[in-house]
């Protein structure tokens, strides 16, 4: 009997000894060498992280008192941040775009920015600040952004013998072009998502002079307005006429495979299109005829946790990360946000990047519904279902009816 207890004890002791040996280091806010430790969580993947790590290392080398540790979580970024915030142990710094969902866990930055003087703020594109603020308080420093633009496959245009999109390309032009391409080639002329993110889709409503809701968040008379119905009807018709493919994913795969001639997306796919050596072009979004098209802005910022214990060190790194040097180093990874960098690097001369800046300029002054609606994530889920009902080929639900129902929610 004694033997048994003895053996179990030994087994458990061995276990715990091995365990404590194999895992060292803790979670203190000071690292071993006396430096202040700042955690920085990124959502980027694989090689992009390596590029960021080089930048972080550079910062650490030039600072004796601060050590920034880069953490990479990819697609699971939100789960990790949620767990951290819920347990009051979020990373000191983190990438951020969904401010409405997280701002209560973030540190307002206005006072930090003021200390840096008048000109500090001016160098950033002004439209970006709105996307990094909630109720007038700034919660994040702009790091990168993308607008949406029209991607087109030049080879397919040539095969069908149609003109490339010009300066004033309208949706009617797009439909006509798509029709010809669908008839003359094996590809579909255009592609859009079966289940678009409602956040992105609002830009088409803006372009046609309406929105999801008014300034108070009331959706009635807005999402079911005539202008809105026109937009959804147009997309649905393109799918019904089979001049547009309705894609299960975001459409990039179909575009790369040469199965569709045009699609609308952010700058995220540029790198993979270049890797493929694809013969493609990018231009501004098509307009509805009367006024310039408007794009949604997907901004990425860097934000500070309000529970951070080393706020000054964190701010030091934020300035570095959003400064000119880092902006330049991230070209290819992000579209730079500093006007001086755009100028010095001659970004506007690059026909790949220029359309995204042109879209940025003509898209100022719009507030996405996600910043207006208090419970946007639920509203968005309902809208997403409504959109899918209209665009899914197995339903193609009536636009008017669907939107009127959506307005009730």
């Amino acid at each position: 009997m004694k033997k048994k207890i003895a053996i179990s004890c030994i087994a458990l002791m061995c276990a715990s000894m091995v365990l404590s040996a194999c895992a060292s280091g803790g979670n203190s806010s000071e690292s071993k060498n006396g430096k202040v430790k700042v955690r920085f969580a990124s959502w980027d993947v694989a090689e992009d992280i390596d590029k960021q790590q080089i930048l972080v290392d550079k910062f650490n080398e030039s600072h004796d008192d601060i050590e920034v540790v880069l953490e990479a979580y990819g697609r699971d970024f939100d789960t990790k941040i949620s767990a951290g915030m819920g347990s009051k142990d979020a990373p000191d710094l983190m990438y951020m775009w969904n401010y409405p969902a997280y701002y209560e866990g973030l540190e307002p930055l206005d006072s930090y920015i003021e200390k840096e003087g008048e000109d500090f703020k001016k160098n950033y594109y002004s439209a970006l600040w709105d996307y990094n603020s909630i109720e007038g308080n700034i919660y994040g420093m702009p790091v990168g952004f993308t607008t949406h633009a029209l991607f087109y496959n030049k080879d397919l245009f040539e095969e069908a013998g149609v003109d490339l999109p010009g300066e004033n390309f309208t949706w009617d032009d797009l439909r006509a072009t798509a029709k010809t391409i669908s008839e003359k080639t094996n590809a579909k002329g255009f592609a859009f998502q079966m289940k678009p993110d409602p956040y992105d889709f609002e830009m088409y409503l803006w372009s046609n002079g309406t929105a999801y809701c008014d300034g108070k968040g009331d959706m009635k008379g807005k999402i079911d307005s005539e202008g809105s119905q026109e937009v959804f009807k147009m997309f649905q018709d393109m799918a019904k006429e089979e001049i547009a493919a309705v894609t299960e994913g975001n459409g990039t795969d179909e575009f790369r495979a040469g199965q569709v001639a045009m699609y609308i997306y952010g700058s995220w796919s540029i790198n993979s299109l270049n890797e493929d050596n694809m013969n493609y072009g990018i231009t501004k979004l098509p307009n509805f005829g009367s006024k310039p098209s408007v794009s949604i802005l997907s901004s990425s910022g860097i934000a500070m946790s309000k529970d951070s214990k080393n706020k000054d060190a964190a701010w030091e790194f934020m300035k570095y990360w959003t400064g000119e040097e880092a902006n330049k180093a991230r070209i290819g990874l992000e579209l730079p946000v500093l006007e001086t960098v755009i100028e010095s690097e001659k970004i506007m001369d690059d026909s790949t990047y220029a359309p995204f800046y042109e879209m940025l300029k003509q898209s100022a002054g719009y507030t996405p519904a996600s910043f207006i609606q208090k419970n946007w994530s639920e509203v968005s889920e309902n809208l997403s279902l409504s959109f899918e009902e209209m665009f899914n080929p197995s339903t193609y639900r009536d636009v008017k009816e669907t939107l009127e129902q959506a307005a009730q929610q």
Binding site: I5, L12, M85, A101, E104, S377, E381, N392, P393
Partner: protein, 302 residues
């Protein structure tokens, strides 16, 4: 002295689990139960709402019952199907034919592949316009269904993709079947019993304990199914695969309603618990434990 040691002996054996339960499991469980009575938006202060979350769920939230029905349907199809396939494969690879080692490995490999990669591969295969399956069907002149677009087929697509990982369960059955002494079969063969007959009169009764195990654990896992649907269908098309597990997950991490998600989880807990109790109750009539032989039949274990 001797007697008291005898008395505590069983507790000493289960002591590791009791410690682990008290240290690692109990706290979080109680925490989530308490949270189910609060409104907790992740960043704000939790507010006590009594049974508010539960009332909301049963009276106003339509998605709750929809998701519950989807998960029940899925479990009703998937659990028996998966078990049948697993048992069938286990029987096949236990047969005294050549090359079973190769087949054993082949059937096992898919269950080792990480869930993220499995979902990507299946979404390529099942893509209705550009997928390889419908492409191959079109070569045969068949127009394949719109797997991940048509709500009628999507749940089937999820079942096809999830049955891919049947290997673990197969292995459990296989280990059990291999433990049956061959003398039993030899005796039956001498008596002229067919292989079919041998399966029902020897194999099946002897593996009922693992059958029970697989039944209960696959009921649990089918209710908790999240990763595959999240990555393969995202709950669509038209929310037709918006499983209860995904519903809970989204409430917690998309809508940041952690209190509400806790309430979702505890309702799921009660449902699974009732199902498990039912299975255990009936199990005394079909599960056959050899440790309870003739002398010891008075009281059956669950």
């Amino acid at each position: 002295m001797q007697k008291s040691i005898k008395k505590i002996t069983p507790y000493l054996f289960i002591l590791p689990w009791i410690i682990g339960f008290l240290v690692f499991t109990l706290g979080p469980l109680i925490f989530s139960l308490i949270m189910s009575f609060y409104n907790w938006s992740l960043t704000g202060k939790p507010q006590f709402v009594g049974f508010g979350n539960y009332i909301e769920m049963f009276t106003r939230d339509k998605q709750f019952s929809k998701s519950l029905i989807i998960s029940l349907k899925y479990a009703a199809v998937f659990v028996p199907l998966n078990m049948a396939i697993a048992l069938f494969l286990a029987m096949l690879i236990a047969q005294p034919v050549k090359h079973t080692k190769i087949f054993r490995t082949i059937f096992y490999i898919p269950s080792v592949i990480s869930g993220v990669a499995v979902s990507i591969i299946w979404s390529w295969i099942l893509n209705s316009d550009y997928g390889i399956l419908n492409y191959l069907l079109s070569l045969l002149g068949i127009k394949g269904p719109k797997w991940l677009v048509d709500p009628g087929y999507a749940i089937l697509a999820v079942i096809i993709a999830s049955a891919f990982g049947v290997g673990s369960m197969m292995l459990i059955f296989y280990t059990d079947i291999k433990g049956i002494p061959s003398t039993l079969y030899e005796a039956a063969s001498l008596d002229g019993a067919s292989s079919f007959r041998q399966f029902f009169s020897i194999t099946l009764p002897l593996i009922t304990p693992t059958l029970l195990f697989n039944l209960i654990t696959s009921i649990i896992s089918s209710f908790q199914q999240v990763t595959l649907v999240m990555l393969l269908t995202g709950g669509g098309p038209l929310k037709s695969t918006y499983f209860y597990g995904l519903y809970t997950y989204n409430n917690a991490f998309k809508h940041h309603k952690l209190g509400y998600a806790s309430a979702n989880a505890w309702v799921m807990f009660v449902i699974i618990l009732i199902l498990t109790m039912l299975v255990f109750k009936t199990s005394s009539s079909w599960v056959f434990y050899q440790s309870e032989n003739a002398k010891n039949k008075k009281r059956r274990k669950p």
